[in-house]
């Protein structure tokens, strides 16, 4: 029998407020290698704040975020800022909803992919370029566009380029913030297919924030439903969607249009 895989992320009793508004309350969960956790909930439920606390962007008021980096367990908010900034790229990658937040628009497509590798020490121009070419093919962008600036790309291509940039260093943990938001449905399908394939290929641990239950169903193994800063329901994705227990989850599920 396959042993239970390594724990990559552990969140304990995480709390975060903005003034008197409690955005995240008493949130605890863990995530294993090869597992995709979907976080769903309406705007203002705290899911984006939670993701920012995991991504090193918002310091929680209380609680801990522990991330395993090649077997070493590191507490994200229990180190000084310089150390966190230095270690963060080796701990996780964040895929933003808006690709322009995750790309350098004044740098070529190839440069966008090779830059994270250079930051982690790779200097050989030839191998950087060949890795960039491989990744362009991998995310279905014409390798002939390697020297073009991302601002000449369509929204869907930019998003795929951001994914290549995020995964080129083989992070163990990937955080995705509405990765298909704002894209045409046909473009979405291509992106979902890509994410689904990459998650398996690299055996990624991933946290996926989305308000689209269809996207959550397709990509996640487990779901966490958030409302007013709390996790109100959690379990296997099909269980949460087909046998929801909480009134709010039942409302969420029954509100989806069937095609």
């Amino acid at each position: 029998m396959t042993p239970i895989s390594e724990e990559i992320l552990q969140v304990e009793d995480l709390n975060k407020s903005f003034g008197r508004l409690a955005a995240c309350r008493d949130i605890s969960f863990s995530l294993h290698r090869g597992e995709v956790l979907g976080i769903v909930g309406e705007s203002g439920s705290g899911k984006s704040t939670l993701l920012k606390c995991l991504a090193g962007m918002h310091a929680p008021d209380r609680g801990s975020v522990t991330i395993s980096v090649s077997g070493d367990r590191r507490s994200l908010w229990n180190m000084d800022e310089a150390e966190r900034e230095q270690l963060l790229p080796s701990m996780l990658s964040l895929i933003h909803q808006n690709p322009r937040d995750g790309l350098r628009l004044d740098v070529s497509a190839g440069g966008n992919i090779s830059e994270p590798l250079m930051t982690s020490g790779e200097r050989h121009y030839g191998s950087l370029r060949s890795v960039a070419l491989d990744w362009l093919r991998n995310v279905e962008i014409d390798p002939g566009r390697i020297d073009d600036l991302p601002k000449t790309f369509s929204g869907g291509m930019q998003q795929r380029l951001q994914i290549a940039r995020s995964l080129v260093t083989h992070p163990q943990l990937v955080l995705m913030d509405e990765p298909t938001g704002g894209l045409d449905v046909s473009v979405q399908a291509k992106l979902l297919d890509l994410l689904r394939r990459l998650v398996r290929e690299f055996n990624l641990a991933a946290v996926l924030v989305t308000h689209d239950l269809g996207v959550a169903r397709l990509l996640s193994d487990r779901l966490m439903v958030m409302q007013a800063g709390r996790v109100i329901e959690t379990g296997l994705t099909d269980r949460v969607l087909e046998d929801p227990r909480q009134a709010y989850t039942q409302l969420l599920v029954s509100s989806v249009l069937q095609v």
Binding site: M1, T2, E35, R222, L236, R239, Q250
Partner: protein, 239 residues
């Protein structure tokens, strides 16, 4: 020795958006499935037969009772298993052919069928070959293998779903009306596939409305009684 042992399971739904109405589905149901046998769930429409399969697959929570399953060298209670364990049980122990295929955008029929086998660690080219053998056996035209099944007919989608369920070596197989929308020729293929599985020691629990199929494969029937038919609300519980 039973590989699936169900004792006193119960299920109801509480519909919070309908004033908390309680819809009973299953009460105190017990049965088991042994290696190499096929057990058919029997009962009128709405009796909760599909719900029983979903409880065993972990899609529905069991409110009461115990669902013991042989998982590797362990006996695990599905009614209380955590999501990680359930995920492993689905990958290696329990296969499930649902009533309808869940299509994935852009994924071809061939890849969709090979997927569960690759997930258990098989080499993808071997898995693909095996997928093609099954697609051929189920009379899916070769021209369709590389297409996503979204536009396939109901019967074709159902056969893709069957291939996806039968490709692995799961020791337990749950079948929800596998022959519902099939013609006589393909019904016979499904009967043969079920017999092959039984011969290899797989325990099968199924719902077969088609009496011919049921008579051909089932060793025993388990009656699932309809609960509170006056309380049944069409589609709400199943949605």
């Amino acid at each position: 020795m039973a590989i699936l042992d169900v004792t006193g399971i119960g299920k109801h739904f509480v519909m919070h958006l309908r004033d908390g109405i309680r819809i009973p589905v299953i009460a105190n149901l017990s049965f088991n499935v042994k290696r190499g046998e096929c057990v058919a769930l029997n009962g009128p429409s709405g009796a909760g037969k599909s719900s029983v399969l979903k409880m065993i697959f972990g899609t529905y929570a069991a409110e009461n009772g115990v669902i013991h399953v042989e998982h590797g060298n362990d006996i695990v209670d599905i009614a209380s298993a955590d999501p990680m364990t359930m995920k492993q049980i689905r990958r290696n122990t329990i296969g499930y052919v649902s009533q309808f295929l869940r299509v994935v955008p852009r994924v071809s029929a061939r890849d969709l069928v090979a997927e569960p086998l690759i997930a258990t660690g098989w080499d993808s080219s071997v898995a693909t070959q095996r997928a093609e053998v099954l697609l051929e056996r189920l009379n899916i035209p070769k021209a369709l293998w590389s297409l996503p099944p979204a536009t396939f007919s109901g019967g074709e989608q159902q056969r893709i779903n069957i291939a996806r369920g039968f490709i692995t070596e799961h020791p337990i197989l749950l079948l929800d009306e596998p022959s519902a929308s099939l013609d006589a020729q393909n019904r016979q293929v499904v009967i043969d596939l079920i017999r092959d599985k039984k011969q290899r020691g797989v325990g099968i629990l199924g719902i077969f409305h088609d009496q011919e199929v049921r008579d051909a494969v089932a060793n025993r029937l388990v009656d699932v009684a309809a609960l509170s038919s006056k309380n049944q609300q069409p589609a709400t519980a199943a949605a």
